[in-house]
């Protein structure tokens, strides 16, 4: 009997179309896998077996009637817990939203439902997407399927681990400073941050509105393209959504998969390598660039001098926006309500203060305070205002670089997965994980992370990042798919085939 959990989403779609399997069968297969391994991985915060199977049945009925709702109709998916799902808990990894069941669907979730993808469950994440390890989840960390003592990246470690441990063929993530790409890198999976505005944010519980993007989390570049094409495009409910058609992403991935890179100019960003990057990560990166050159690409070195300020810029803009976004969690209309100890007849304000103290974790409090500071009168110009100007400079650096190169490349994350707990109380060390991914969010450009191999030091996966100009998402798919193909040819299969099977890990 075929183990459908090992198939890609594209293969599953074909198998469904050819009548080789049913949605119920493969949805059940993934649910079984979750039952077997998720006790150890903890990719999910909530599994909706009943709902997923009901959707699978409906999907099979559509297939039987000859009217599938989409190419991916019947292929199950996991959804990051930061996206509102009507009737399913949505906690954002926070105590303050424990038990909250949204009365509405995010646009992308609505799209999944209409397209017939059974929703397996909601995946774990750092609280309100603040973190690079999922250790800031109020419900406990997710474990990296490559080494259960290590972090799966973050904030979308749950989505990446679900896909890496074959609990789902597809997942949705969100990326504010690397939360799709960095987990992809450290779990040996593929993740794409689309152009800002390329995918609707309506129903995405905002971390930093001007940086957040929803994107695909998958095991192959083609699967990402399929999912991206499904959920992407204009949404009138999101004012920042781009009102023009997406480029042909699946075609770009298919073109890339021919392995021909002739005519493509690849810019290696000087500032996104070297100091702070693990040697094994750099080695895999350099080999990948060489492979692309052998396939016909032209390499240029580009300099983006302002990128060294990207991290500081990000850690001013993000907390500022987040401090305001998270103000709505005040115990009045939904979520947790905590009455302060020893206060008789507390006021609304006292209840807000007590609830926000108990309901938010340390990292969230840190960033709210930081953001409140950055926006407060007297400091706005020096911090938030200045950060917005540096943002302009970063965009200009990108513009200049894209004048010389079609895409820019770098390692996705400076290191492989570190040990759980290692950086938990050292916020700055944690923030450095996003060094290479943040510039894309600040400028709104698309980026992909594809596995580049295992670092020599620790045998853990590293990622290769490809960035393209805004609206040219097709380029990251073409280059990403080419690298994927060239490396698979070398390895004799996908990198994930080398990951532990997790058989018998249940705990």
């Amino acid at each position: 009997m075929t183990d459908w959990t090992r198939s890609t989403a594209a293969e599953l779609a074909d198998a469904l179309a050819n009548g080789e399997t049913t949605s119920v069968e493969l949805t059940q297969a993934h649910l079984d896998r979750t039952a077997a391994v998720d006790g150890a991985v903890h990719a999910y915060l909530h599994v909706d077996a009943e709902g997923a199977l009901a959707q699978a049945e409906a999907s099979d009925a559509r297939r039987a009637a000859g009217s599938p709702a989409s190419r991916l109709d019947g292929v199950p998916i996991a959804v990051k817990d930061v996206l509102a799902t009507q009737g399913l808990p949505t906690t954002c990894g926070s105590r303050i939203l424990e038990g909250w069941i949204p009365p509405y669907d995010a646009t992308v979730v609505d799209t999944l439902r209409r397209a017939g993808l059974p929703i397996l469950g909601k995946t774990n994440m750092d609280e309100f997407a603040m973190g690079s390890s999922t250790e800031h989840s109020a419900y406990g960390p997710t474990h990296n399927p490559w080494d259960l003592d290590r972090i799966p990246g973050g904030s979308g470690g749950g989505s990446a681990a679900a896909v890496a441990s074959y609990q789902a063929p597809l997942a949705l993530g969100t990326d504010t400073g690397g939360s799709i790409r960095q987990p992809g890198a450290v779990t040996g999976t593929v993740g794409v941050k689309p152009t800002y505005g390329g995918v609707s944010r309506y129903g995405l519980v905002a971390l930093a509105n001007s940086l957040d993007q929803v994107g695909p989390v998958t095991r192959t570049v083609l699967d990402s393209a399929l999912l991206h094409e499904l959920v992407g495009g204009h949404d009138p409910r999101d004012s920042t959504s781009i009102d023009q058609p997406l480029p042909d992403l699946v075609a770009a991935a298919e073109l890339g998969a021919t392995g021909d890179m002739s005519g493509v100019r690849i810019g290696v960003v000087k500032e996104l390598s070297g100091e702070g990057y693990q040697p094994g990560v750099l080695a895999r990166f350099e080999e990948s660039v060489e492979l692309l050159v052998k396939a016909g690409a032209e390499v240029v070195e580009v300099s983006c001098p302002t990128f060294v300020h990207a991290l500081a810029t990000y850690y001013l803009i993000l907390p500022a926006e987040a401090s305001s976004n998270l103000a709505k969690f005040d115990a009045m209309r939904y979520g947790l309500r905590v009455y302060p100890d020893g206060v008789d007849a507390p006021s609304a304000e006292e209840v807000m203060r007590a609830t926000r103290d108990k309901g938010f974790g340390d990292e969230v409090k840190r960033r709210i305070i930081l953001g409140t500071y950055a926006l407060s009168s007297g400091y706005y110009d020096a911090y938030y205002g200045q950060a917005q100007k540096v943002r302009t400079l970063i965009s200009r650096d990108f513009e200049a670089a894209f004048a010389k190169a079609d895409v820019l490349v770098s390692p996705t994350a400076p290191t492989t997965a570190f040990k759980l707990g290692e950086k938990l109380d050292d916020p700055l060390a944690m923030y450095l994980n996003d060094l290479a991914t943040i510039p894309a969010n600040l400028a709104g450009v698309p980026g992909i992370s594809v596995p580049s191999g295992l670092a020599d030091e620790d045998g853990l996966p590293a990622g290769f990042q490809v960035l393209a100009p805004a609206l040219a998402d097709d380029r990251v798919y073409r280059v990403g798919a080419a690298l994927e193909k060239l490396l698979a040819d070398q390895w004799g299969g996908p990198l994930l085939a080398q990951a532990p099977t997790l058989d018998g890990v249940a705990r």
């Binding site: 949204p102 509405y104 005040d330």
Partner: protein, 497 residues
């Protein structure tokens, strides 16, 4: 604690009042500012809400184009510049009736700025400079439960209805208004009244102050006479009628003056206006802790009205108020004094509508400026909020013209109209107010009056026609007022000639 007041004259002798007015106009759009929820007033609680206006996690705003259009039209009508590019901003503060704990508003980039409006006070024109008009959203409404008064203090808990949250507001802020001197209260009142006329003419709001469609905050400070230095200001919130605006300014002038004259200093604070007692009381002290942490709303894109659009909207503006007043005065044949009184009473629009409904200009003016002004004054409300419509006034006048009622009976018709007894005709019917047109009964009453007053009758026979008044009075008394006095006079003169 009761505030000490200086007399108004003493206050004005020593200080110059500086006014600032902030008026919130609730637009009459069909849907809210940032979502599609209905704005119809009076719905069941929390039935006109959605993820956006409830501030649910993940929801995102989308700007109502009509709201922007109305803001631009208001800006143009106030002779403002219209921004070529502006953004919404978040005003961050916590309050339970504000779902997101920030208000989506505008900060340093208002849609309209640098305008003016000429207001007329006692026939003189006073130019009020407009600082800005910007777009924002309303909050929900809290009901306070428990405690003796149902007010906020002493309440046990509160119940919040978010139907109003997200309804579009335009906030119109004046520059400091100096030089009004002793007429500052009247200038403030005239500004708000004429602003309301403008808003009504634009058709962008119901503009009912009593329903909160139009809310005025009155800022006041005093400068020592001859000094340019601005004093510390107080902000009196939610002053919700024209006459209260006037009274609140007067009260604050006297209160500030007493403090300053006594060597004290004014506390910068918000104050509450008490309609019943006519005083303001201390509200919230403005402190350093008040820091709204404004920043551009990242979920909304900038608004950049094209100049073509602005010009299209300019073409839809109603006639400018000064030209309108001149035109109406000519059309109606009012004297300068009559026109000034009409404007001063805030009755221009009402008179215009009454005339449009069929009354003569003089009749319309007479009703609004005498009988109805007296009633509004007694009730402590503005004319527009009295509860009598221009169509009803025209209807009453039509009954007078037809001889169905006389002026005295007409006053009783207004009693019935205010009591909600239906149309003027229905009130006449229900109350049996029609004058008696039965010639037989009238003739008999005249005969009785002549018989009872032979002396007077003789005088009239001798040609002293002026004496007829005494007989008319007697007849009217017998007829309980329900007679046409002119017809009675005719009958008397016929019988005694």
């Amino acid at each position: 604690m009761t505030d000490t007041l200086l007399t108004y004259d003493d206050a004005l002798a020593a200080y110059d009042p500086v006014l600032g007015l902030e008026v919130h106009v609730e637009l009459n759009t069909a849907s809210k500012m940032f979502c599609g929820c209905s704005t119809v007033f009076g719905a069941e609680p929390n039935t006109q809400v959605c993820p956006v206006c409830l501030g649910l996690p993940g929801a995102m705003p989308v700007v109502n184009g009509k709201g922007v259009e109305s803001a631009i039209r208001i800006g143009l009508a106030l002779n403002c510049q219209i921004a070529e590019w502006c953004r919404f901003a978040r005003k961050n503060y916590f309050y339970p009736d504000m779902p997101k704990n920030f208000q989506t508003s505008q900060y340093d980039e208002p849609i309209a700025y640098d305008g003016w409006m000429d207001v007329e006070v006692d026939g003189e024109t006073f130019r009020v400079e407009i600082e800005r008009a910007h777009m924002e959203e309303d909050t929900g409404k809290s009901t306070h439960v428990g405690g003796a008064t149902g007010r906020i203090h002493g309440a046990d808990h509160s119940l919040v209805d978010y139907n109003r949250a997200g309804i579009p507001l335009i906030e119109i802020v004046t520059k400091p208004i100096r030089g009004a001197g002793a007429r500052a209260p009247e200038v403030a009142r005239a500004y708000v009244a004429q602003l309301r006329d403008l808003i009504v003419a634009l058709g962008v709001s119901e503009a009912r102050m009593d329903q909160g469609n139009l809310r005025a905050d009155v800022n006041l400070s005093l400068s020592t006479k001859g000094s340019d230095v601005l004093g510390t200001r107080s902000e009196t919130k939610n002053v919700n009628s024209f006459r209260s605006v006037e009274r609140a300014v007067r009260f604050e002038v006297q209160r500030h003056a007493a403090i300053l004259a006594g060597g004290g200093s004014i506390v910068q604070e918000t104050r509450h206006w008490h309609e019943d007692t006519g005083i303001t009381t201390s509200g919230r002290e403005k402190s350093d802790a008040e820091d709204y942490r404004y920043f551009p709303e990242p979920d909304l894109v900038p608004v950049a009205p094209t100049r073509d659009w602005v010009e299209e909207l300019r073409a839809t503006l109603p006639e400018n108020p000064t030209a309108r007043r001149a035109r109406l005065q000519q059309e109606w044949g009012f004297s300068d004094l009559e026109m000034r009184d009409t404007v001063g009473a805030g009755a221009l629009g009402l008179v215009e509508e009454t005339i449009a409904a069929g009354a003569s200009p003089q009749a319309a003016r007479k009703w609004w400026l005498s009988e109805l002004s007296r009633r509004a004054n007694d009730a402590g409300v503005d004319l527009v909020d009295l509860g009598v419509t221009p169509a009803q006034v025209a209807g009453v006048q039509a009954l007078v013209d037809a001889g169905t009622v006389n002026d005295k009976l007409a006053r009783q018709v207004f009693d019935g109209l205010l009591a909600g007894e239906g149309t003027p005709e229905e009130v006449v019917e229900k109350r049996g107010l029609a004058v008696v047109s039965d010639e037989g009964a009238l003739s008999a009453a005249v005969d009785n009056a002549i018989a009872a007053n032979p002396d007077v009758a003789d005088k009239i026979r001798d040609g002293k026609v002026a004496a007829a008044g005494a007989l008319i009075g007697a007849v009217m008394k017998e007829m309980r007022g329900q007679a046409d006095a002119a017809r009675v006079r005719e009958l008397i003169l016929e019988k005694l000639s």
